[in-house]
């Protein structure tokens, strides 16, 4: 294809330089031959010398042009390339030979003119050769014209092809350029976008940094201005992984204020270095937090600093623990003062009671013979009331004793505790003819013994107290085991409670009955509620009015 195009192109371009000259030459040959033929006619007509010379000149000219065709030469007639096409060369040589024959016949004729005069045969022969020659010349001319047309066609084809190629090329270049341009534009766009994005990211990052700084400042502000002390530590363990010490990593201002210790004294130091007298059990406690991740909350007195702290410790990272604490020394003092106050009031209130009872008894024993029944009745009322007042004070005292930091707990067999309680209540049980069923093999609970006894004693006492007239109390004590707690119950067949009082009965001094009907202080259930609440449990009642009540209380396992 490429070769064809190249060939077409070459032959096409050859046309301009070669074919024109060759056709010119052939036409010159034709002209010269025709002219020499005409001059020979003149010779024959009589004008010999001039005409012969002219004819000879024309023939020489014809030879010259044939020579140009066959050999090619750069002359004053123009630049001629020699013919290359073998067919053409063959035709031209044939033409040359015919021209030679023509010349020889011409010479012959001229020579015979001298001797024999005009011979028609020779003339006929000469005319025939002339005709042949002209024919051959015209053949060559035709061939050249033909070739030229073919080459022109080739050239046109090549031209068209080239035009197509050029157009294609232009289009291609255009497309490429467009593509490139588009690509460039896209690239630029991408670059721009990337730049914008990067700018935005930078901006966002800067903004975030600022926000972070702000947030950090805020936290730092909070951290430093919170009234609670805060400290971050890492735990130090021995080779067996047992916590033996801890190091201060960060503390806030309140920490400094609350402990009187300064940052410089603590940061980077271990508690052994900073506070040699620190409680050992604290290290264990904090160690557990840092190693297990389980948060704790407790109150702690430090002999070292002579203070009481409420402490929350949690694990922000394994091996570390953070402590948030507040100084509750004042609260502790206030608590103690309140406790003292309650004791004092209770005891001081009891003293006159004791005396009232004492003197009433003395009056009875020493002057009994002088008193009538009415006087005895009044004395009874006095001692009855002192007894009631005593109960009230005792219960109040008990209530005030149930603090958040309650007494020690141990694993208790509920059955054993119940045996003791029933033993204490045996007189009442006998009086009331009560029947008490206790579930066998009740589980153990981790509760303070006194508190559990108090709960049962109160509930069983109530169950017997609020019995229906003429119906001996029948009490059932049992439990249900839940995944996380134990629900215990005391069920009776007593008078029952109306639903609207289910909550009210647990409020202090709430009584549903007249004192003369059911004695009591109205504090018993409040005490139970507080005890159970302190254990993290709850207490409630379900009842069928007139048929009986069931008191439930849930305590953690």
């Amino acid at each position: 294809m490429t070769l064809t195009i190249l060939f077409s192109f070459v032959s096409g371009s050859r046309m301009s330089s070669q074919y024109t000259s060759w056709i010119d030459a052939v036409m010159e040959v034709k002209y010269e031959v025709t002219s020499s033929h005409l001059w020979l006619e003149e010779v024959l007509a009589g004008d010999r010398d001039l005409a012969i010379d002219a004819a000879m000149d024309h023939m020489n000219e014809a030879d010259w042009f044939v020579h140009l065709l066959l050999k090619g030469e750069d002359s004053e007639d123009g630049t001629f390339d020699k013919l290359e096409d073998p067919v053409l060369i063959h035709a031209a040589e044939d033409m040359k030979e015919t021209l030679l024959v023509f010349r020889s016949i011409f010479s012959e004729r001229v020579a015979s003119l001298e001797s024999s005069g005009i011979g028609s045969d020779i003339d006929q022969h000469f005319d025939r050769i002339f005709g042949e020659l002209i024919e051959k010349v015209e053949d060559i001319e035709d061939m050249l014209q033909n070739n030229l047309r073919l080459d022109l066609q080739h050239f046109k084809f090549a031209q068209i092809f080239l035009t197509i190629i050029c157009v294609s090329l232009i289009v291609f270049v255009g497309v490429v350029f467009y593509r490139f341009d588009t690509q460039r534009k896209i690239d630029v766009k991408i670059l721009l976008e990337a730049k914008i994005q990067s700018d935005q990211e930078t901006f966002a990052r800067e903004k975030m940094t600022v926000e972070l700084q702000k947030s950090e400042m805020k936290f730092r502000h909070l951290f430093d201005n919170m009234t609670s002390g805060f400290a971050l530590h890492e735990i130090i363990t021995d080779d067996n992984g047992k916590p033996i010490d801890y190091r201060f990593l960060d503390i806030n201002r309140s920490f400094e204020k609350l402990t009187g210790l300064s940052k410089g004294d603590l940061i980077g130091k271990t508690v052994h270095e900073a506070l040699p007298g620190a409680e050992k059990d604290l290290i264990e406690k904090f160690g557990e937090v840092a190693l297990t991740g389980k948060p704790i909350e407790f109150e702690q007195s430090t002999a070292e600093l002579n203070k009481y702290y409420h402490i929350n410790a949690y694990c922000p990272d394994k091996g570390k623990f953070a402590v948030i604490f507040s100084d509750i020394s004042d609260k502790k003092i206030a608590d103690q003062e309140l406790k003292d106050f309650v004791y004092t009031v209770s005891h001081d209130l009891k003293a006159p009671l004791r005396k009232l009872d004492g003197f009433a008894k003395l009056l009875e024993t020493e002057y009994g013979d002088k008193l009538n029944d009415e006087a005895f009745h009044y004395l009874d009322r006095i001692t009855g009331n002192t007894q009631q007042m005593k109960l009230l004070i005792d219960d109040l005292l008990e209530l005030s004793r149930i603090g958040k930091t309650d007494l020690e707990t141990s694993d208790l067999s509920i059955n054993t505790v119940l045996e003791r309680v029933l033993d204490d209540l045996k007189d009442t049980i006998a009086d009331k003819n009560a029947v008490i069923h206790i579930a066998e093999n009740m589980p153990s609970v981790k509760i303070n013994k006194t508190r559990l006894s108090q709960i049962f004693s109160n509930l069983i006492g109530n169950a017997m107290k609020f019995s229906r007239e003429g119906v001996p109390p029948e009490i059932e004590i049992g439990y249900t085991l839940n995944p996380r707690n134990i629900c215990l119950f005391v069920k009776d067949n007593g008078i029952g409670i109306e639903e609207q009082y289910y909550t009210k009965i647990f409020s202090i001094f709430q009584r549903l009955h007249k004192k003369e009907d059911y004695e009591g202080t109205g504090i018993g259930l409040t005490i139970i509620k507080r005890i159970v609440a302190n254990m993290g449990g709850s207490v409630w009642v379900e009842s069928e009015f007139g048929k009986g009540s069931t008191f439930y209380f849930k305590v953690p396992k």
Partner: protein, 150 residues
């Protein structure tokens, strides 16, 4: 021994309590010579025979001390401390007789070697039996060498 009167020193500031204690001792059949002082200072003066209590006859060495905790001037705990740190007095049984059931008071009393700690019951009948118990305790457990004070 039953006929021997016990010298009892009652350290009590409240007149009602004094009267009731006296009655309870009588009702509880504890035969005694009761000496009454009204505050801690008087108790110490009585024991060391100072001031109003110089006379040995009216201020004999008691065989039992009933000591209230809350007292004017010098309180009961302080009196107890002094008695128990004095070689001459430390063998006298001291019964802390009080309305306080406060653990702190009980602890303090026993740490200062009180021989007994008794909360005064509200009911008078209970009080009588308590006093009776104290008398009995003293009668049975008292191994103090009897001092001949002439």
């Amino acid at each position: 021994m039953n006929s021997t009167a016990i010298e009892i020193l009652l350290v009590e500031d409240d007149p009602d309590d004094i009267e009731l204690t006296q009655k309870a001792l009588v009702s509880g059949n504890v035969i005694n010579n009761l000496h009454i002082v009204r505050d801690g200072q008087e108790a110490l003066d009585f024991l060391y025979r100072k001031g109003d209590y110089e006379d040995e006859k009216t201020s004999p060495r008691p065989g039992l001390i009933l000591l209230d905790i809350k007292l004017p001037k010098v309180d009961g705990t302080e009196v107890l401390k002094q008695i128990k740190s004095d070689p001459d007095l430390l063998r006298i049984p001291v019964v802390m007789l009080t309305t306080s059931k406060r653990e702190e008071d009980i602890f303090k009393s026993y740490s200062n070697h009180a021989n007994s700690y008794i909360e005064k019951p509200v009911a008078f009948e209970d009080f009588i039996s308590t006093i009776k118990g104290i008398g009995l305790y003293w009668l049975i457990t008292n191994t103090m060498p009897t001092r001949n004070d002439g």
